[in-house]
C-alpha cells in the first residue's frame, strides 16, 4: 500500500490535515485503529483484508484533540457513515479529508484469516467497494469470493416465524445482553453525548440488563437507527455475547429501501429520510 | 442506441412508395434499417375492437422480439403501428396484471420494452445539418400542407414530441427542402381512416374537407406520414372528385418522398409513379417555374 502511505505522508507534510485516522498492523495477521500524526507514523499505515473497523466512529466519539482538519482512511461503507455525519451536522465536509480505498472485502473480525467463510457479511451485498465520495482514491479493485448472505437468510427465517416464535427468538437473544453498550459505542451514528438510556427523569429504558430493559433498549436503538444505519455491522461484531443486533438495523434498511427506495449515506446531497416526508406515502397500515 | 425497423403490413403493401422512398433517403444518409426478425401484425387492424388482450399481445410480441434481438429502440414509420406499439409498451409497463396475462399468452417473459419512435421523431433525431447538406433541388415555390392525422402526435401527454393540437415538427422538416409549409387548420383533423372500408362515403366527406382547407390555404400538395391518411387522401381522391366536382386535385406525398425529391432521387425510385393523383406533373411545373425565375 505504498500509494496509501505516500498520500498520507503528503497530506501530513502539506499540513492539509493535522492527523490521519487509519489502520496499523496488530498481532499476527490483524490490524487496529491508529492515528498518524507524523510522516513517520504514516509509514505504519496499512490497508488490507483485516481492516474491518469503521473508523468514522472516531470522527465525533473519540477524545482526539481536534485541531484543524482530520484525514481518515475509509472504505465505501465507512464513507456512507461519514456522509450521514455530514448530513447530520456532526462534521463539516471541508473539515474532513477522505482517503477513499477500493475495498476488496474484509474479514468478520480483527485477527481472522482471510478465507471465504471469514468474509464479513457487509461485504456480501456491498455496492460501494469503490466509494461514492472521497477526496482521493487509492488501491485497485480485485475480485474476491462473496460470502453467503447469511444475514439476509437469518432475517428471512425470522420473518417466516410466527409472532410468538419471533418473540421467543429475540427474548433468548436479548436475555444474553449485558448492557455493555459496545454496540452503541462502536456505532458511528450513535453519537449522542447522553444516550436516551443514560437519561433518567424519565428513565424510558431501564438500565438493568433484564428482559424488560434489554428489549426496549434494542428496539429503540434499532428505531433511532432506522433510515440512518448504513449497515457497517460494527454493532454485531463487537457484541461480546454474539447477539445479532445488526439484523434489526438491516431489517429497517430493507424497509426504507422497499418503501422509499432510499439508502442512507449514498448521496450527500439527498435529504435524509428522517426529517423529510411526502404528502402521499405508504399508509395502508393506518385505518 | 440500436434501432430496429418495424415495417408493418402497409409498408410491404399499400404504401410501398413510402417504404421505398424511406429506404432511398436513408441510403443517402447511409443509414441501414435492420428489420425485426420474424415480426408480426401490430394489432392495429381489427384486433383492438375484437379483443383487448389480443390487441395487446400482438404488439407486445414484436416489442419483445426487438428486445430479445438486442434493440433498444423501434422505428415504426406507419403511424398506426407506432400508435399500437407505443400504447402497449406503456400498458405492459404500467399494468402488471396485463403484463402477466400477455406473458402467459406469449409463453415468454417480457423484457424491458424498447423506446418506440415514429417517422417524425426518427427524422427529428437526425442532425438537421446532415439533411440540409443532402439538398440538391430547392423546392421553394412548392406550397405544402403538413398533415399529421390523428396518430402521429397523439396521444396527448404520452407522445411528448410535439403539441397534439398545433404541431410544428413536420413543418420544420419540410422547410429543409425549401418548400413552404402553409399555415392551415386541419393538421390533425380526422381523415376517416377507421371507416375506410365500411363507410367510404364518410371518408370522402372528411377527406374532402381536409383537401379543401389545404387548397384554401394555397397548398399545392399535402405531405403525410401515415399510410392510412395517404390511402384515404390519395386513393379515394378520384372518387371524391367524382362526387364533389369542385374538389381541386391535390397530390399527396409522404414526407420521405418530399425529402427524396429535394435530395434529387429519381421519381420512380421514390415511387412517385405509384400515386393515384400523379404528383410528378405538378412538381415538374413548379420546379420549372422556379427555374425560369
Amino acid at each position: 500500500m505504498a500509494q496509501l502511505v505516500e498520500t498520507a505522508k503528503e497530506l501530513l507534510k502539506s499540513g492539509k490535515v493535522s492527523y490521519i485516522i487509519g489502520y496499523t498492523a496488530h498481532g499476527d495477521n490483524g490490524t487496529k485503529p491508529f492515528i498518524a500524526r507524523t510522516e513517520a507514523d504514516a509509514e505504519k499505515l496499512v490497508f488490507n483484508h483485516h481492516c474491518v473497523n469503521n473508523l468514522s466512529v472516531y470522527i465525533n466519539k473519540a477524545d482526539i484533540p481536534e485541531n484543524g482538519n482530520i484525514g481518515i482512511i475509509a472504505k465505501g461503507c465507512d464513507i456512507r457513515t461519514i456522509t450521514m455525519l455530514v448530513q447530520e451536522n456532526q462534521i463539516k465536509r471541508e473539515h474532513i479529508y477522505i482517503i477513499g480505498v477500493n475495498c476488496n472485502g474484509q474479514v468478520k473480525d480483527i485477527g481472522m484469516n482471510w478465507e471465504k467463510e471469514n468474509v464479513a457479511q457487509k461485504c456480501a451485498l456491498c455496492e460501494v467497494r469503490t466509494p461514492a465520495l472521497y477526496d482521493v482514491l487509492v488501491g485497485d479493485l480485485e475480485d474476491f469470493e462473496k460470502p453467503e448472505p447469511t444475514t439476509m437468510q437469518l432475517i428471512q427465517q425470522i420473518e417466516a416465524m410466527t409472532p410468538k416464535e419471533r418473540w421467543a427468538y429475540w427474548q433468548e437473544q436479548f436475555d444474553k445482553c449485558i448492557k455493555c453498550y459496545a454496540c452503541r459505542q462502536a456505532c458511528p451514528l450513535c453519537y449522542c453525548d447522553q444516550c436516551i438510556v443514560d437519561k433518567n427523569e424519565p428513565q424510558w429504558i431501564e438500565t438493568s440488563p433484564t428482559s424488560r430493559g434489554n428489549l426496549s433498549w434494542n428496539i429503540i436503538r434499532a428505531l433511532h437507527q432506522s433510515g440512518r444505519c448504513v449497515g457497517c455491522g460494527e454493532c454485531s461484531r463487537v457484541c461480546p455475547m454474539g447477539i445479532p443486533i445488526g439484523i434489526l438495523n438491516v431489517k429497517m434498511n430493507m424497509i426504507s429501501m422497499r418503501d422509499f427506495g432510499f439508502k442512507p449515506g449514498m448521496n450527500i446531497n439527498e435529504s435524509t429520510l428522517v426529517g423529510s416526508y411526502n404528502f402521499t406515502e405508504k399508509e395502508n397500515f393506518i385505518r | 442506441m440500436k434501432t430496429a425497423y418495424f415495417p408493418g403490413c402497409s409498408m410491404a403493401g399499400t404504401s410501398r412508395e413510402f417504404s421505398s422512398s424511406l429506404k432511398e433517403v436513408l441510403a443517402l444518409l447511409n443509414i441501414e434499417l435492420n428489420e425485426i426478425d420474424d415480426w408480426s401484425c401490430c394489432g392495429a387492424s381489427s384486433a383492438h375492437v375484437t379483443s383487448h388482450l389480443l390487441a395487446t399481445a400482438l404488439p407486445a410480441r414484436n416489442l419483445n422480439l426487438a428486445s430479445q434481438q438486442g434493440y433498444d429502440e423501434i422505428f415504426a414509420p406507419c403511424a398506426a403501428c407506432y400508435s399500437r406499439l407505443l400504447m402497449v409498451s406503456r400498458e405492459v409497463n404500467n399494468n402488471k396484471k396485463m403484463a402477466a396475462k400477455v406473458e402467459d399468452v406469449l409463453g415468454e417473459k417480457l423484457l424491458p420494452t424498447p423506446n418506440v419512435v415514429n417517422l417524425l421523431e426518427y427524422f427529428t433525431q437526425i442532425d438537421k445539418e446532415k439533411l440540409a447538406q443532402l439538398k440538391k433541388i430547392d423546392l421553394s415555390g412548392l406550397n405544402v400542407a403538413c398533415y399529421y392525422g390523428c396518430l402521429l402526435v397523439r396521444p396527448n401527454g404520452i407522445n411528448e414530441l410535439d403539441d397534439s393540437e398545433q404541431p410544428a415538427s413536420m413543418e420544420a422538416l419540410v422547410s429543409i427542402t425549401g418548400a413552404k409549409p402553409v399555415d392551415w387548420n386541419f393538421k390533425t383533423e380526422c381523415c376517416g381512416a377507421a371507416h375506410s372500408i365500411p363507410h367510404t362515403n364518410i371518408v370522402e366527406i372528411l377527406s374532402k374537407k381536409i383537401i379543401d382547407d389545404a387548397v384554401a390555404h394555397k397548398a399545392d400538395i399535402i405531405v403525410v406520414g401515415c399510410p392510412m391518411c395517404h390511402s384515404n387522401l390519395d386513393m379515394r381522391q378520384r372518387k371524391i372528385k367524382k362526387d364533389y366536382p369542385d374538389t381541386k386535385e391535390t397530390p399527396i406525398l409522404y414526407l420521405t418522398e418530399l425529402l427524396g425529391l429535394s435530395f434529387g432521387i429519381d421519381y420512380n425510385k421514390l415511387g412517385l409513379n405509384l400515386h393515384y393523383i400523379d404528383p410528378i406533373k405538378l412538381i415538374e411545373k413548379r420546379l420549372e417555374k422556379e427555374a425560369v425565375k
Binding site: K32, K179, V238 | -
Partner: protein, 339 residues
C-alpha cells in the same frame, strides 16, 4: 488434599445428580460465549484446551443485575420486600485457573469495610470445580500476575485432564472435600498405573514484572505516557463486564407502576463517560485516556495498595473481546519497558 479419578461419564452423572439435589449446575456453553446452566440430561462441557469463554463465570457470584429489595408506596408509608432465592446452591464446572482465582480477589473488596451479604451468600453456596488450562494465545498473561495455568487457586475441586479422557480430581478446600464426600460414588480412587496427565503446552511467558510496574505507577499518575492512551478506546464496558475481577456497580430504582418498584444493583464500568460525571456536569475524568489510566491503576496499583492483590488474573478476555484491539497487557508491558 485428596486426589481422586472422575470419569467424564461420571461427571455428567454427577451433574444430573446435583440437579436432582436442587443445585444450579453451571458449565461452559457450547458456543463458548459464557457459562450457562446445564439442563438435565445434557452433558457438562469441560474445555481445558479451548479459549476462555467471552464472559467470565463472575456472574454466578456477582450477577449482572441483582434486586436489593422491592418497595410499594401507599399514600402514607412504604413497604419493603426482600428478594427471595438469594444464594442458591450452585456448582460451577470447568472454570480455568484464571477464572477460579477471581473469587478470592473479589472477596477482598466485598468484605472490606462492609460485608456484602449478597456476594458472600453466593460464594458460600457455590462449589467451584476448576480445570487445568491448556490454552495459550497472544492475550494470555496469567503468569505475569502471579498465577499459572496449572494452579488450583480459587477452586474447591481441581480437575486435571488425563490421557484416557478421565480427570484427576484434587480437593483444594474444605468445601471441596465435603462436596466430594457427599458425592463419593462418582469419584474413584487413584490407581497408579493409568494416571498419565495430558501433557500441557508451556506456560505463557511473563510479559511484565507487576511489582516493577507498580513502582512506576506509584509515582506517575501524571505522565505523558497516559496522554492519548485512550484516544482509540470507544468507551464501552466490554472489557469490564467480561473481566472476572471488575466489580463496579450502580444502584438504581425501577418503577413498575406509580406505587411499586425495586432497587437494583447493576454492573457499571469506569470506562463510561457517565461513570464519573457529576450532577453539575463536571467530569473529573473528562477524557477517555483518564478513564483508561484509572483502569490500569485500579488493577495494578490501587487494589494492590489496599488489598495486596493484583485486580487481574491475566485471562486476557478484555483484549480478545476489544473491538478496537486495546490490549491491557501490551500497555502494562509498555510501562514495564519504560526507561
Amino acid at each position: 488434599m485428596n486426589e481422586y479419578i472422575i470419569t467424564s461419564t461420571n461427571i455428567n452423572q454427577l451433574a444430573g445428580e446435583l440437579l436432582n439435589e436442587g443445585y444450579n449446575v453451571v458449565a461452559e456453553a457450547e458456543d463458548g460465549t459464557a457459562f450457562i446452566a446445564v439442563a438435565a440430561g445434557s452433558n457438562v462441557i469441560l474445555n481445558p484446551f479451548g479459549k476462555p469463554t467471552n464472559l467470565s463465570p463472575k456472574q454466578y457470584i456477582f450477577p449482572k443485575t441483582e434486586t436489593l429489595f422491592y418497595y410499594k408506596k401507599s399514600q402514607t408509608d412504604v413497604e419493603i420486600i426482600d428478594p427471595t432465592g438469594l444464594g442458591h446452591k450452585t456448582v460451577i464446572f470447568g472454570t480455568k485457573p484464571c477464572d477460579s482465582a477471581a473469587n478470592k480477589i473479589l472477596a477482598k473488596v466485598f468484605n472490606w469495610d462492609y460485608k456484602d451479604e449478597f456476594f458472600n451468600k453466593r460464594v458460600e453456596n457455590t462449589v467451584v470445580i476448576g480445570l487445568k488450562c491448556g490454552y495459550r494465545d497472544a492475550q494470555c498473561f496469567c503468569t505475569s500476575v502471579g498465577l499459572s495455568p496449572e494452579s488450583g487457586e480459587g477452586s474447591d475441586v481441581f480437575l486435571t485432564p488425563l490421557e484416557n479422557g478421565d480427570y484427576l480430581a484434587q480437593t483444594i478446600t474444605e468445601k471441596g472435600a465435603k462436596f466430594v464426600e457427599e458425592h463419593k460414588k462418582m469419584f474413584d480412587a487413584i490407581s497408579a498405573d493409568k494416571n498419565k496427565p495430558v501433557p500441557m503446552p508451556e506456560a505463557p511467558a511473563k510479559k511484565f514484572d507487576a511489582a516493577k510496574v507498580k513502582v512506576w505507577l506509584d509515582s506517575n499518575f501524571e505522565n505523558e505516557f497516559w496522554d492519548g492512551l485512550g484516544d482509540l478506546c470507544l468507551g464501552c464496558a466490554q472489557c469490564a463486564y467480561v473481566c472476572p475481577t471488575c466489580h463496579c456497580f450502580d444502584i438504581v430504582d425501577e418503577n413498575f407502576d406509580y406505587t411499586s418498584g425495586r432497587r437494583v444493583k447493576n454492573w457499571d464500568c469506569c470506562q463510561f463517560t457517565m461513570f464519573t460525571k457529576h450532577a453539575s456536569g463536571h467530569n473529573p475524568r473528562s477524557v477517555q485516556s483518564d478513564r483508561f489510566r484509572q483502569r490500569v491503576n485500579h488493577k495494578f496499583k490501587y487494589y494492590p495498595d489496599r488489598f495486596d492483590m493484583i485486580l487481574c488474573t491475566g485471562c486476557g478476555r478484555c483484549s480478545r473481546g476489544c473491538g478496537v484491539g486495546m490490549d491491557i497487557s501490551e500497555i502494562v508491558q509498555a510501562i514495564d519497558n519504560l526507561k
